[in-house]
Amino acid sequence: MTAPFRGTTPQQRDPQALVAKPIFDWFFAFAVVAVIVLYVRALAFTPPDALQGLAQKIYYVHIAAWLGAYTAIGITALMSIVYLWLHDERADRLGEASAEVGLVFLTVGLTTGTIWAHRIWGAWWVWWDMRLTLTLFLWFIVAAYLVLRGGIEDPGMRGRYSAVLAVLAALLIPFIHLSVYLFSARLHPMPVALQPGRPKMSPEMLTTFLGSFVAFIILCIALIRARYRLGVLRDIASAAEIDGDAR
């Protein structure tokens, strides 16, 4: 009982041809090039930090990865609300794609963060840092979201359940934030680039820093796009399978 979804009706396209056709994703290639250019710049053409030395270079991955993660997870939350409201399969698929990309960026953020923390804080993990703990639980929730999706076969039910989870998670985040905030030391460096007044950063560093944001946002969108297309193909393939079974 898969409802026909707008934009791509399985009857209009031959699923075999669609799956077999190789796709060269120009946008994705552009994103990869942007990230490479950024890292060449960050490693070779940006001065090291006065206090943290080379360890600070990880900022260009770490903070940019967070930006990507929050963008992706924001899209998932938004699409879940849209799905519960309009029951449009595209919203569900976009939510799924963003959640998966979000999990990747969260993992990158957590990994680079612990490496940096080991060097600068002297510990791999500090529980009472608010952002660290909050993000860890965010990671768990996104993981649960994806596992939940994997455990349900009916597309309608899968969409509804995961949207409900995402909306409740959006309510949960402030609570985790608040409870960690109450007894936490804030070890994370406060924002440097986007604070009011003049940024306390050399112009080269600032350019690289903002460049890393742009590169990662492009990468994030490119990954979500690619993952969304995969979702479309999967749905077409499973619709064709059901079609074939019916005949």
């Binding site: 649960a144 409870s179 109450l182």
Partner: protein
């Protein structure tokens, strides 16, 4: 002609809770297994720390929350599993009660089920960990009740979702535990402070979080529940 009327939301919820509790009362299997699990866990955790370094009374609050969480998950698992066997959920759906009352009924049933377990577990904790019986223990019991409202609110919804998936037993903890974090963090802080004899005013911010969580999630999960049923 007899006047047949559909019951209101809350009275229907109470009827459903009574139905679940009657089933439980007649079979008693889930209750006893959850209870034995809770007390067994209390005893096992006693040996997880070196008693010459950490005094049992300092250990007690931590053990309490671990045991509470996992015995709650056991109880919640069974809540909608019960309806799954003979597709009892279909009968509930065709009955003239609102979907919100199905949720509330299940939640009330779960709350009473878990309270009954805690009613034995907390005295057992006091016994095994040499806690002074008195006002602090009473306060902790109150906090347990507040924590349980939040746990049950979220857990009942996820239990309804998890039974329809391929790996219900695994998925329920995976979905619920992140949601228990703010509850456990604040409840554990209050319990530790209270048992250490600190004034209640120190725990006020945590108490506020706990109460706010209960209110927000009871409302949100009641509203979300209809989405988890087949349309």
């Amino acid at each position: 002609m007899n006047e047949l009327r559909a019951p209101g939301t809350l009275s229907a919820a109470w009827l459903l809770a009574r139905k679940d509790l009657a089933i439980e009362f007649r079979t008693r299997t889930a209750f006893f297994s959850a209870l034995v699990f809770a007390i067994l866990a209390l005893c096992i955790f006693y040996f997880a720390w070196d008693q010459s370094i950490v005094a049992p009374s300092e250990l007690a609050p931590g053990v309490l929350w671990v045991v509470l969480t996992f015995s709650a998950l056991l109880g919640l698992q069974r809540s909608f599993g019960l309806e799954e066997h003979d597709r009892g959920i279909d009968a509930l759906l065709v009955s003239p009660v609102s979907r919100e009352s199905i949720y509330l009924g299940k939640a009330i049933g779960n709350l009473l089920f878990l309270s009954a377990i805690q009613a034995v577990t907390i005295p057992a904790l006091a016994l095994f960990y040499n806690l002074p019986v008195g006002r602090p223990l009473l306060v902790v019991t109150g906090i347990v009740l507040l924590a349980m409202i939040g746990i049950v609110a979220v857990g009942t919804l996820f239990s309804a979702m998890a039974v329809n998936t391929r790996m219900a037993e695994l998925l329920l903890p995976m979905l619920s535990l992140p949601f228990f974090v703010p509850i456990l963090m604040s409840a554990a802080q209050i319990a530790t402070r209270t048992l250490a004899g600190r004034p209640m005013s120190e725990s006020a911010p945590y108490l506020k979080i706990l109460i706010a969580f209960d209110v927000v999630f009871v409302v949100a999960c009641t509203l979300a529940f209809p989405f988890t049923l087949e349309e």
